[in-house]
């Protein structure tokens, strides 16, 4: 009982905070949008990279496909957002399906380069075909109405939160079922997994498509909440920073994605006063975390466990504190 108590309290506090966040003003709501979207993207990348062990450097490409599909379907075909949003996810899936035969054949270095090349093709295509995508100027995303009532930031906040929770549950389910175990087997050793009877190609494709779906959803939500999208949001630098939440949180951990999404969205806001140091700080973070490969989530977990242990030792067995701590150090 004692071990479940703090987590229950934590979850209740978290739910209350999440439910009431829009009350704290427009800026907090806007930041929460970005955090939510970052978490959705991170969960998707984590499935392909963290669980299945395949590098994904082209995430910005699928993200852009989702965003532009959602915006274009509304602007050019006059679709309602309720149809455009799922259609954008489908578009991202479709592009994923088309590129998969070429990309999934690749391994390690070539996969890294191939996925990155895909994202750059998408980025430069968005920039050059001004007649469709608005070019560098960008594209306006029309405000959506439901029976004359404008869908505002608060609505999108709850929508994004809903998708984050759903996405998290789906990702956790996947991780704990047969498919997730197959992915992890592929991550550890592809040949071994194949010998065990796992259809490596099919499971990789599944992970890739699920990843594309998450990225498309994130893109569509981003387009909806921001109201204006430009290719700049999906450029070469963003291609690297989009994977930050996963790396920071720790590859393979869904909780890590949430933590990474929060940290990596808030960090630029904290650094906004010293824009010129941003690249430097990101670099230190990225390089430093490679020396602690399980990411921030595991560091935090380890830290709290240690703290909790010391705390409970002090509270319950006053005179034995010294012994226990001594053992812990060894």
């Amino acid at each position: 009982m004692r071990s479940t108590k703090p987590t229950t309290i934590l979850i209740i506090v978290l739910l209350v905070v999440v439910a009431t966040l829009p009350l704290f003003g427009k800026y907090v709501t806007y930041l929460s949008h970005l955090i939510g979207i970052a978490i959705i993207l991170a969960l998707g990348i984590n499935i392909f990279w963290g669980l299945c062990g395949q590098i994904q450097f082209g995430a910005a490409g699928f993200y852009a496909v989702g965003a532009y599909a959602c915006a274009l379907l509304q602007a050019k075909l006059g679709w309602h957002v309720a149809y455009a949003l799922p259609a954008a996810v489908l578009a991202s899936l479709l592009i994923g399906l088309v590129t998969a035969p070429a990309l999934l054949r690749l391994k390690i270095h070539t996969l890294a380069l191939g996925t990155m090349a895909f994202a750059l093709v998408v980025y430069y295509w968005l920039e050059t075909t001004a007649s469709v995508t608005g070019g560098e100027e960008g594209l306006r995303v029309l405000a959506a109405y439901v029976s004359g009532y404008r869908l505002g930031p608060v609505f999108y906040y709850y929508l994004i939160t809903l998708f984050v929770i759903l996405g998290f549950i789906v990702a956790e389910r996947f991780k704990r079922c047969k498919i997730g175990r197959a992915w992890m087997a592929i991550r550890e050793d592809e040949g071994c997994a194949a010998v065990m009877g796992i259809n490596v190609g099919r499971y990789k494709l599944l992970a890739f498509l699920i990843c594309c779906g998450y990225l498309g959803l994130g893109g569509a939500l981003f387009a909806q909440q921001s109201g204006w999208i430009t290719p700049m949001s999906f450029g070469i630098f963003y291609n690297v920073t989009i994977i930050f939440p996963v790396i920071v949180g720790g590859l393979g951990s869904n909780w890590g994605c949430i933590l990474g999404g929060v940290v990596m969205t808030l960090l630029p806001q904290v650094l906004s006063g010293m824009q010129q140091y941003q690249v430097l700080v990101y670099g230190f973070l990225l390089a430093g975390l490679m020396f602690a490969p399980k990411g921030l989530a595991s560091l935090l977990e380890e830290g709290t466990r240690k703290l909790w242990r010391t705390f409970s030792v002090v509270a319950h067995t006053g005179d034995k504190t010294e012994d226990r701590q001594h053992c812990g150090e060894n």
Partner: protein, 289 residues
């Protein structure tokens, strides 16, 4: 006609630059199995130092080149000792080391950016503003310098890796560290040698390119991606293949830029790359590993 030739010459020259980075990738990859995403930053550093030494301080070309070689070596030692060797001792996998070098790349470009205020630095050409004319085709000596430099480096490295005992030891280290150690080679020294060679080549390459494209702190990442493309198109692990791949990419990009636009050039390069990867992932001259 003259226009096409000029375009192709510029393409070859820029391609050689990509090829040079690809060559650096190859040198390091052959010795350590590491892909160094920070390689572009060594080139950027070379260009910025060249700007600082030659344009701002007015030091003569050859002395500046010597200083850049020294600084590149120091940078390589620091990079290899602080980052690469500890990670390799931790048995970090390919992805972890690659991402770490990416982080280092951001640190270097971020720090340089803070010092130079992210400005485009204007470097003076080494040969004045002379232009060579050959039968109606005008060529800037600066472009020729990049090509000659790359070919010299390629020749030296090719000879070094095939015909000298150190070069053979260097390549052997990439195959099997344990065996190499049994044969009396110190793998740590070979790893340093590889990073040192790559850093010097990049530093001097950056120096040659400084007047062609004005140096900027953030130019490393796009360059390193192009260099990576060159290495993969040519075939990773093969020194001349990287240069051929680089020239292929450079000429393609420069032709598309001349006749369509620079954005289409990027699309063409990466689309060709994806096609290439789909048909022949091991590259033009590579063997499937």
């Amino acid at each position: 006609m003259a226009e096409i030739v000029e375009t192709i010459v510029i393409g070859i020259s820029i391609g050689c630059l990509y090829g040079l980075i690809g060559l650096c990738f190859t040198v390091i990859y052959n010795a350590t199995d590491v892909i160094n995403f920070a390689q572009g930053e060594f080139l950027m550093l070379g260009a910025v130092w060249s700007w600082l030494l030659a344009t701002v301080l007015g030091i003569s070309l050859w002395i500046a080149a010597l200083i850049i070689v020294g600084l590149s070596l120091i940078a390589a030692v620091v990079f290899e000792r602080i980052v690469i060797t500890p990670l390799m001792n931790m048995n970090a996998g390919f992805i972890r080391i690659a991402i770490c070098t990416m982080g280092i790349s951001m640190i270097i470009s971020g720090a340089t950016g803070v010092l130079t205020k992210f400005d485009w630095l204007r470097a003076d050409p080494f040969f004045g503003i002379t232009v060579w004319g050959v039968g109606g085709v005008s060529i800037q000596p600066q472009y020729v310098m990049v090509v000659v430099e790359t070919l010299i480096f390629l020749g030296i490295y090719y000879f070094f890796s095939k015909s000298t005992i150190y070069g053979i030891a260097l390549r052997a280290t990439g195959f099997n560290k344990t065996t190499v150690r049994l044969l009396g080679v110190a793998p740590a020294a070979m790893v340093f040698l590889a990073f040192g060679i790559a850093a010097v080549m990049s530093g001097l390459g950056g120096m040659a390119m400084a007047p062609v494209t004005n140096p900027n702190a953030m130019m490393g990442l796009p360059l390193v991606i192009k260099g990576f493309v060159a290495a993969i198109v040519g075939g990773l692990g093969n020194p001349y293949a990287a240069v051929v791949g680089g020239i292929f990419v450079g000429v393609l990009a420069s032709l598309v830029t001349a006749y369509l636009s620079s954005a289409y050039a990027e699309i063409a390069v990466f689309a060709v790359l994806i096609g290439f990867l789909a048909i022949r992932p091991s590259g033009l001259f590579g063997e499937a590993k």
